[in-house]
């Protein structure tokens, strides 16, 4: 990537260049990110808070999410902050516990899917030839399946445990990641430092690992952030459709299923709060993704 050489690439302003100067300390870089992208920083805080909530759900939730602690259909009140559902379960506690599944499924599938996609993308672009051609045709074909339909098909076949949903999401996230990383490696491959490494006789795997991989890290981070929102939405949609995670586990998608829809005239809080939880988290993720893209990788802008 040209931005690592320390010289301003055309089209990149002075400020952005300072942000990505490798000598800057991590803390300083975070500080300057907060200053230039305040909304991005707020979004990052929301995401960290959600992960924190997910991890410490049992401590934070006022009630057990599965116990019938209230009368059914209590409206939001001081004793039940976000009301109670048709069985009398505490909506606030269920929203807190719902963060667990969403965050686990989202983070796991993005970590596996984008990492795998990056590896395949690098190999596809660097090796080229028949391997590249084959991989790209498979990517083309995989991209023809709308995410939710692919997910439905895969969970129908694999069964709908949490880990099978992660597996389905990995298949869904792979083609996009391969395509973006490949496009980037195709240009890195022609840069002087890659050619220099080839000239001194470095082995292909060494060039891919030591010279190309570090230069797609920015794209890796941006891709992971952007696809995290997609992964969370798909998991919630599957559970909403009743083919995702079993109803015994509190999930945001599950809370929005038929019950919430059936009682929407009388008990709006059943649908609105879990829906808001998903929307706020995904909104924060998208905003952070945009901000990170502007800071780390100006070339991806506008995509």
């Amino acid at each position: 990537m040209t931005t690592n050489t320390g010289q301003a690439a055309p089209g990149i302003t002075e400020e952005q260049q300072l942000d990505i100067r490798p000598k800057q300390g991590t803390l300083k870089r975070i500080g300057s990110f907060c200053r230039t992208k305040p909304l991005g920083a707020v979004s990052a805080a929301i995401i960290i808070l959600t992960i924190f909530t997910a991890v410490f759900a049992p401590v934070l939730a006022p009630y057990d999410p599965l116990d019938l602690n209230h009368e059914p259909f209590i409206a939001p009140s001081p004793s039940a902050w976000l009301g109670a559902d048709e069985l009398g379960r505490d909506v606030f506690s269920r929203v807190i516990f719902g963060a667990r599944v969403s965050m686990y499924v989202g983070l796991a599938s993005v970590l596996i899917g984008i990492s795998l996609g990056t590896i395949i993308g690098i190999i596809s672009a660097y090796v080229g030839g028949i391997i590249d051609l084959t991989i790209q045709r498979i990517v083309d074909a995989l991209m023809a399946f709308p995410a939710i339909i692919m997910a439905l098909g895969l969970t129908a076949v694999l069964g709908s445990s949490v880990n099978n949903i992660v597996a389905a999401l990995v298949v869904i996230l792979l083609p996009g990641a391969i395509r973006v990383i490949r496009a980037q490696v195709l240009s890195i491959k022609e840069l002087d430092y890659t050619l220099a490494a080839q000239a001194i006789g470095a082995r292909p795997w060494r060039i891919m690992l030591r010279h190309i991989l570090p230069n797609v890290v920015a794209s890796y981070i941006v891709l992971s952030t952007i696809t995290l929102g997609l992964a969370i939405i798909i998991e919630a949609s599957l559970t909403f459709l009743g083919v995702g995670i079993s109803a015994d586990i509190p999930t945001w998608g599950g809370m929005l299923t038929e019950g919430a829809q059936k009682y929407i005239r009388t008990a709006w809080w059943l649908a609105v709060f879990p829906g808001m939880a998903i929307s706020i988290v995904v909104f924060a993720i998208n905003f952070l993704g945009d901000a990170l893209r502007d800071t780390l990788d100006p070339r991806l802008r506008g995509r």
Partner: protein, 317 residues
């Protein structure tokens, strides 16, 4: 143009074949095999003999390549196999559902484009104005709200604000066109909401790029009215990426219909797919997935050809 078309169609054929292979392979991932899945469905007891018999009946005892070729030649003839659930040809029920979903998708993308393009253009010609800021927030919110939640929110809004809920269900467009459109309007709005946001974003960025072009300055310099500069020189050139994205999103919409059809009780392909997943009716699942994927491949091909026809630069790239 012919060369470009040949090249693009050359890429299209292997993609189509690979799509069928992927669907076929995925459906074979079932632990055990379909026969086992049917027999062990309700933990029912079965004998080895029954299993062999059912395998022979379903044709799953033949070599995998033979099964694949058999299935693909069936596809070409419009034969999608026999439903496990109700025993009739899959195509019979699928055929009734396809027009419903296509209508919903067309309404959805239509609404999205009609609202998104003016929004994107306004936002681009007045960057950092209140309109731009509002539209940017709106588009970011739009791509963050999952389809099923925007569907529920729209229903809630109507009940709360107007005390009115449109009749759920579905009236045939040929029998009662007015009732049909009334029923599909809201689902289409919920369906197109995400795409509206997405297309508005693309419109804004492509319009902003074009506003900086030399020919825009020239058009203004020669004294052309601003309205004409924007419509004839600006939007006309910005339309290409908008068109491409809309075409792609149209394909994607088939995914969104699954959720929307479930919320608004519309008897389309999506409902059929969800029911088939509940019923573990694999031939139907397979048929729906392959039809959707192939439609998207065809739509993408058409969009690419159209793009090449409209913009000569693409042809010679």
């Amino acid at each position: 143009m012919r060369q470009y078309a040949v090249k693009r169609i050359g890429l299209f054929i292997p993609t189509v074949l690979l799509v069928t292979v992927i669907v076929f392979v995925v459906m074979r991932l079932i632990p055990g095999d379909p026969a086992l899945a049917i027999l062990s469905a309700d933990d029912a007891a079965y004998t080895e003999e029954e299993l062999q018999l059912l395998r022979a009946e379903l044709g799953t005892d033949r070599p995998i390549v033979v099964q694949y070729v058999d299935w693909v030649t069936g596809l070409v003839r419009g034969d999608f196999g026999t439903s496990f659930w109700w025993g009739g040809p899959v195509m019979e029920r699928l055929g009734e559902r396809i027009p419903v979903t296509i209508e919903l998708a067309i309404l959805g993308i239509g609404l999205a484009v009609v609202c998104a393009v003016p929004l994107g253009v306004l936002s681009a010609i007045k960057p950092d104005s209140p309109i731009d800021y509002l539209s940017r927030v709106f588009t970011l919110v739009g791509i963050s709200i999952p389809t099923f939640f925007s569907g529920i929110l729209i229903t809630l809004l109507l009940i709360r604000a107007f005390g009115w809920l449109p009749p759920l269900g579905y009236a045939d467009i040929w029998e009662d066109p007015w009732a049909n459109v009334k029923q599909l309007m809201l689902p289409a709005l919920a369906l197109g909401f995400y795409d509206m946001a997405f297309i508005a974003r693309v419109t804004r960025s492509s319009m902003m790029e074009i506003l900086r072009e030399d020919y825009m300055r020239t058009a203004r310099a020669k004294g052309l009215a601003e309205r004409l500069v924007l419509s004839r020189h600006g939007l006309k050139n910005a339309v290409l990426p908008i068109l491409t994205i809309s075409g792609w999103q149209f394909g994607r919409l088939f995914g969104g219909t699954v959720v929307i059809e479930k919320i608004f009780l519309i008897p389309g392909v999506g409902q059929l797919l969800i029911d088939a997943v509940y019923q573990r009716d694999f031939p139907t699942i397979q048929a729906v997935i392959v039809i959707v994927a192939l439609s998207i491949v065809v739509i993408n091909l058409l969009v690419d050809l159209l793009y090449g026809w409209l913009d000569p630069r693409i042809r010679y790239a």
